[in-house]
Subunit: 293 residues, 2 copies
């Protein structure tokens, strides 16, 4: 079994990005500039946004957080989005989700200029990805693809089973694994809450991507010998064995499944750390106009 | 075995649409208006466009064909597209594909206002469909969904296998069968040219949707007893038994597979006749602003 070390890989990629940003600056190019819009004071959102800001600064990009009050009207937020769409200094921006209940998230997402949609949540980026056109990929699916690539995991003709059909993980990653590309070219099956005899699918999987949101759901008896296991789940449970008082678990029962896997992502330190890297890469792509020209 | 009679169903739906259009007019609404843009004189395209025009007229819609010379520049064609985007009389329009080689098809498709994109080829309509938002569905996938619905075919929890991953059939129909909806909620597998042991998938399929473009590829031994078979293929072969001198075949070896199927679409007269109905429905939806408000 080889561990897919997302922490290590994401560190390497950050260094690569830092060098790329440095080169862009040396060549007289514009420093890539990411803006994060944060509405209200949700603690988790604060943390995510601050991580994104730090990561930007670490690789030499410009970053900025636009803080708006929780009570802001949808109209005002949309006005801010249009302003960022038109601000030539801003290469890409994200609106941190979730938004307060009185705001229509989908409307806000669709108001973002697809050319600056570095979260890849705009339907046009989803559609372009499905069709096989250049697109901003959302963070988790892009992170998974990058891990497969960095570990040179063979995908063509393999049986890939995706557990979960969310818009931000299951559906996009299934569509990516289906593309005529590497990683990709797999036969893809998507299972979900209505699937019958789930094990009959998982046991056939050469590559199993688990994004169900059920802690330690996938057990050793559900997995084929030599399978590649990608665990997207993240669950926080109390623990008296850690300093922080809690620890993280995935959707896969790591300790037993790792014995059968050829490759497996741990939680934490697997897919998680890759997401921020995807965002940084999208921001460079935006600043270099690599997707939409 | 029950035959899925697309010809009969499409006839019924045309009558329903005709009544709906009549009602819209009675209520003082605007007559739905479809425009087809035809570039050059490709014989097949001429036929398709003329069928579409006739179908519109038959159900009481306004229709119009814009004929442009094969030598038209991309710029001029795009200008025409923008003109149609802005023409309030036009509810929906299509640009008949294929376009001459010197024109970038994708560029033209993306220039169409998604609100008028009744072919459903714009990436934003593909993306919205994948996400589960209201969208114009392209003709073949929409026709397949409608046939499943009209025959009350149970889909939830079923194993659906799609053969083929084209942008206009395989990918969209797989994404539709995956949605939390009826028809939908199936466990979906997409197979394609790189799939190994194809039969091991097809033999498990409760619902088998075949869009490979290989004549009579699916034989009885590849199919499970009681499966629902949807055949999207269409191949024209010479025949001395028909007046026209040719006959149509599908991707499925109909005569033998029908013995095992619970439901099966014939070729011709299965999925084919449904496509024009999908286009008419999209045009009504456009005129009534049902998708984008």
């Amino acid at each position: 079994m080889e561990l897919i070390d997302g922490k290590k890989i994401s560190g390497q990629i950050k260094e690569e990005i830092a060098r790329e940003v440095e080169q862009i600056k040396k060549d007289g190019g514009k420093t890539p500039h990411l803006v994060a819009v944060l509405v209200g004071n949700d603690a988790a959102s604060e943390t995510y946004v601050s991580h994104k800001e730090k990561a930007c600064n670490k690789v030499g990009m410009d970053s900025q957080v636009v803080r708006l009050e929780a009570g802001i009207s949808e109209e005002e937020l949309l006005k801010k989005v249009y302003e960022l769409n038109n601000d030539e200094q801003v290469d890409g921006f994200i609106v941190q989700l979730p938004l307060p209940d009185h705001i229509d998230e989908q409307k806000v997402i669709e108001a973002i200029d697809p050319k600056k949609d570095v979260d890849g949540f705009h339907p046009i980026n989803m559609g372009r990805m499905v069709i096989g056109l250049p697109a901003y990929l959302s963070a988790t699916p892009a992170g998974i693809m990058e891990l497969l690539k960095r570990y040179n995991i063979e995908t063509e003709g393999k049986n890939c089973v995706v557990l979960g059909r969310s818009n931000i993980v299951g559906k996009p990653v299934a569509n990516l694994m289906l593309q005529k590309a590497y990683p990709g070219n797999t036969t893809v099956t998507v299972c979900h809450s209505r699937t019958k005899n789930l094990e009959s699918y998982t046991r056939q999987a050469d590559i199993l991507i688990v994004a169900m949101g059920k802690m330690e759901f996938v057990t050793a008896d559900m997995v084929k010998d030599g399978a590649v296991i990608i665990d997207v789940g993240i669950h926080r449970i109390k623990s008296d064995k850690t300093k922080s008082g809690w620890k993280l678990k995935g959707d896969v029962k790591f300790d037993e499944v790792k014995e059968k896997a050829s490759y497996i992502t741990p939680v934490p330190g697997g897919v998680g750390p890759m997401t921020i890297v995807s965002l940084l890469r999208n921001t460079i792509a935006a600043s270099q106009k690599r997707i939409y020209g």
